[in-house]
Amino acid sequence: MKKLVLVIMAFAFGYGFGTVAFAENVPIEGSVESRCLITTSNSGVYGNPLPQKLSTAVVDGGVLPIVRFDISLADAYKAKITTPTAFSSSPALSDSVAWTGSTILGTTSDAGMSGYEAAKVVYDATTEFDLTVAGSTWFKSTSTATYGYDKSFPGGIYSAIVVAECIAK
């Protein structure tokens, strides 16, 4: 009788433990935290349509700098894009350079982002966009440098830098 009880208990415990073991859940957890990713889709190239003009505009033979902002949380960041106001490197220049620049909304991953262009704030060479929708937004900048008064830019390599900033609100 004792043996029978022991056997029954052994089965009960074994079955019980087995059940617990087989029913054990292995949770897979993950989270997407708020983040901003700045991607340089295109660095841009200056065209030289006139001797005194360098421009990234396509009509001037240039290539527009394009930067993409990926936002995983809506209304957490604002984008600030500043076009150049000086060359980062150039040949020696004896006259002043007049700079103009602008940034516009390009492609968007969400239709709700179409309002960014109308709501943008422009000051100095900086354009500010409030990133109120999660997703990806592309911005295109145009930069133009005009040298002196109808003077030709000296021959050489010219480079300038666009600054793209993602600021948490």
Partner: protein, 127 residues
């Protein structure tokens, strides 16, 4: 369904965006106490997916973008392409109340800039 599609698309986009990207988290870091009295600390994570960038500069600023003194191992980090870095930032308790932003900025080397280049800066806000 539309939302699911967007989420999958967005995650896919993040996954395939493997070139020329700069990332810093968390968005809203918190300052914690340290074993040193009067010194607060936070940890930032930087991910360099910019092939054209090898250095990032760390900065702490107040709401008017004035620089705040802070201590970290390296204020200019050397980071290889696809490298992750965890940066401990120590701020004096007296400066903590006016500290508003922690930023990382890509440092472009003069030799690497051809015609036009894009410098990226990401700023997290201290909560």
């Amino acid at each position: 369904m539309k939302c699911f599609g967007f989420t999958v698309g967005f995650v896919f986009l993040l996954c395939v965006a493997n070139t020329h990207a700069h990332e810093m988290t968390p968005t809203y870091p918190k300052l914690d106490t340290t074993h040193v009295s009067g010194v607060l600390k936070t940890k930032m994570k930087i991910f360099n997916r910019r092939e054209d960038v090898s250095y990032y500069e760390i900065g702490v600023f107040d709401k008017d973008w004035n620089a705040i003194p802070f201590v970290t191992s390296y204020k200019v980090l050397q980071m290889d392409y696809l490298a992750h870095a965890e940066v401990d930032i120590y701020i004096n308790e007296g400066d903590a109340t006016r500290s508003e932003y922690i930023c990382s900025k890509s440092k472009l080397r003069k030799d690497d800039v051809v015609s036009s280049a894009i410098a990226s800066r990401i700023c997290s806000r201290i909560k």
